[in-house]
């Protein structure tokens, strides 16, 4: 009775064929090739440093140009994908992680990077932060934490310290701020690091370690908003008379309780890898479910598998 419409599917226009290049013959990307639009951030913004080190990571680790996939939500930080000359998506506020999960779970050949801010990741997207972490979906999330809403011009953020005077708390913030490292620990993240945009070497180290981690890797990167919260992170910057305390060498990164204790140290606290655990990723677990299911229908084409199901429904 019913039939489908025979839609003529679009065919890619037959342009000039692109000659194939063996991966081994590919030249490493230069900064010029990977740099996209000129950033719209304010001069002096900490995010510039994160962007520069992302380029460096891609160059250094020789990630193939087309495999770079950058995803973001909304906020100053989340303009990131436009500034990277690579595949990317600028999604809606707070939902970069589920979007990135959709890519990660369907395309194991890509390493997905999500960039976010404190409002995007911990406020409107707080639910997704918890669940992406607990499911251990393979990707790297860098949260550029500036303790304030910048794009909307100075409202209290979920990481604003108590007493911070913003346009929505003219008398000073009254709500307890989130401690991102502790929150990540509690929700089951398998890689948790903390760094600062003012320490490029350390930031790159953390990004490399995150890239190497098989699972959900989370980096909290302090990134100063020079416009609306200037000087917020001076106590963590030796050039401004502060201290950049690296996590003690003897810290056991698999010890959750020790990591929690370290993360409780008052600001500026510690920097480095707080926690790193090996737990099967959602990607691996789903692949296993698929391998088991497909073993039972081995050699059958999709229509034949469906046929077998329909035979049982006659």
């Amino acid at each position: 009775m019913s039939q489908t419409i025979a839609f003529q599917m679009p065919v890619r226009p037959a342009g000039a064929a692109v000659p194939p290049i063996a991966d081994g013959d590919r030249k490493p990307l230069t900064k010029k090739e990977i740099a996209g639009d000129h950033p719209t951030w304010c001069p002096g913004c900490g995010d510039f440093s994160v962007l520069a080190l992302y380029y460096k990571l891609i160059e250094k680790r020789r990630i193939l140009h087309e495999k770079v996939t950058t995803v973001a939500g909304i906020g100053c930080s989340s303009r990131f994908p436009y500034f990277v000359q690579a595949h990317g998506a600028h999604f809606i506020h707070g939902r970069a992680l589920p979007f990135a999960s959709g890519i990660s779970l369907s395309r194991p050949d890509l390493h997905v990077f999500a960039f976010s801010g404190d409002g995007d990741a911990f406020s409107i997207g707080g639910n997704h932060f918890s669940h992406t972490a607990r499911k251990n979906i393979k990707m790297t999330l860098v949260v550029m934490d500036n303790w304030v809403y910048g794009l909307t011009k100075k409202q209290t953020s979920p990481t604003s310290p108590i007493g911070f005077k913003s346009k929505t708390d003219i008398w000073g913030a009254v709500d307890q701020p989130i401690n991102p490292v502790k929150q990540a620990l509690a929700t089951g993240a398998t890689f948790i690091a903390r760094t600062s945009s003012t320490n490029p070497n350390h930031l790159l180290q953390m990004m490399e370690a995150a890239l190497d981690h098989d699972g959900f890797s989370f980096i909290q990167c302090l990134s100063e908003c020079v416009e609306f919260f200037p000087g917020a992170f001076d106590p963590a910057n030796p050039r401004k008379g502060g201290k950049f305390n690296e996590i003690p060498k003897e810290h056991d990164v698999t010890d959750e309780a020790a990591a929690y204790k370290l993360a409780s140290d008052p600001f500026p606290g510690y920097f480095g890898i707080f926690y790193r655990a090996s737990r099967p990723t959602k990607n691996t677990l789903e692949a296993k479910i698929n391998a088991d299911a497909q073993a039972k229908v081995k050699g059958l084409l999709p229509w034949q598998i469906l046929q077998k199901t329909f035979e049982r429904m006659r």
Binding site: M1, S2, Q3, T4, I5, F7, M9, P10, R12, G15, A16, V18, E33, D37, L64, H65, E66, K67, T69, V71, Y82, Q85, A86, H87, G88, A89, H90, F91, I92, R95, L97, P98, F99, S101, G102, I103, L105, S106, R107, D109, L110, N127, H128, S130, H131, E286, I289, N290, A293, Q294, V297, P302, W303, I305, L306, Q307, T309, F310, M313, R314
Partner: protein, 612 residues
Amino acid sequence: MSVPDSQAPQSSALRISDISEAVIRIAGNSQDGIQAIGGFLARLAGRSEQEVMTFMTIPSTISGGPSIFQVRIGSGEVLSAGDEADVLLAFYQHSYQEHLHSLKRGGIVVYDSDHVEPSQDAMGSFRHIGVPISGRTVEAIGGVGREKGKNVFALGLLARMFHLDVQKLERLITERFTGKDASVAENAVTAFQAGYGFQLENVVELFRFIEAEKRGHSQVVMNGNEAIAYGAIAAGVRFGAGYPITPWTDVMELLRRELPKYGGSFIQCEDEIASISMAIGASYAGGVALTGSSGPGIALKTEALGWAVMAEMPLVIIDVQRGGPSTGMPTNVEQSDLNIACFGGHGDSPRVVVAPANVEDCFYTTIDAVNIARKYSVPVILLTDQAIGSRIEAFDEPDLKAVCQEIPVDLTPVADHKPYDLSSPDGISYHVVPGTRIASGRYPIATGLEHDEYGHPSGSPKLHMAMTAKRRKKLQALARELPTPTVFGAPDGEVLLVGWGSTQGPIREAVTRARGEGQSISALHLKYINPLPNGLSEIFKKFKHVFVLEMNDGGLYGYGQLAGLLRAHVCDDRIRGINKCDGLTWKIREILDQVRDRVIPPASGPVASGAK
């Protein structure tokens, strides 16, 4: 089904009457397995090449509560689940009291005499057959099954009454319980045989379905939710994400279970927003992903839906409508999400809305939805409802080899790529997916900001005009590709009944009946809601009255949601609404009464069987 009034002698051999169709209503509690009996009857009908349609109500409670399952089996065309029942099977006093009214006069009520005290007043109007169903079931299968097997015992009674194919039924029962403890299947068959062998008292006649016309084609039996899930698989969908909500949940459960066989995944997400976001991410990564929900969940998804429109991302969204607004009536049917499907969201965000008419159509329309999403890089909402989702029908087994398709991820390098190419014909552009090398070194960004042809943000007023037009023009091109629907009945006349979605069957049955009585009435079914197909205005002009029949409220101005859309589209103020929102499907009688109340179509001579 005709039940003769004459009282047959008690002692003589039972009379066997040939019937062409029967409506059986089974009333009990939701945990009694009455859906299972209905399911067996429906599948038996399918295997016997009969037509079948079911209707069920389930309580919106956590566990238990009164529930019914109605099945209409026919050797000819079955378009609705039937207004009145020929036979009522009542397990409890409340089942008996609540549903006796649904029985046609002279109909038969079979009741569990262990639980039901029949009303003396009703004895004259309905034929009563008391069977100690509970006691006999325990006797048959011992204490192990307790009352568990009484549904199958009752099925045995029905098999006896309707001369059903016992072998086929026993095979269905065995198949159903295969994989469980062997004793479960044995007990079920024992209970069935006990019911079948039970000596029915007061029974004056048995019934036998006249054989259905041979189709020469096997039938499959399933409900609308299943048909959607299998349609998605056939269409090559290999990724989906969702969050549980009644009555959509069955679709996601099935895809979660089945997709791995095809190398795909369905992910249960933390919420509705994550579900659509994850599905869009998967579509961005290649293929066409699926998400879905019911009313409240669809509302939550609208922001991300707007992104998919703006970024021109293919996506299929299933909306199994239920009574709204808010939590509304979760287990009842309504067609009140048409507006949110067509217009939900902010900004000018054209998207596609399609609505299947029956269970078979759920399968094929899902494939259409996937292909529209793919071709036009646009989100497509498939609007179905609780009634079509839960009702079981038998339909010709699809030619899967011909129908099934795959959507390969194409990573062939390209020279350059503009995902939002303004020079593309009709505005229909496409995406290359991440992992594709672009020789020019210019990579696209998928974005929700207004953008240039590469996806980079732009606040240019001219560009916003051009891009908005591009997103609209694609759907205008789609409208040209959609078939103009054909009128059911005569192409002109007094009354045209316009419907959409699951009301197609009841409307056609009503039209067929009215035309048989000489009324000048036809029907038009709309499957493509947004964009609407071309040519509707010309069809409407051929009728004196145009009524849009919907399961939603008549609204502030006296017409429902589709009627509003049609009035805006064709500017015809003769379009009026026939609406109801009692959470139940239209009965044939209700439709005809509503039309009669508005206009009595003059006789135009009996219309033969032209209504096809």
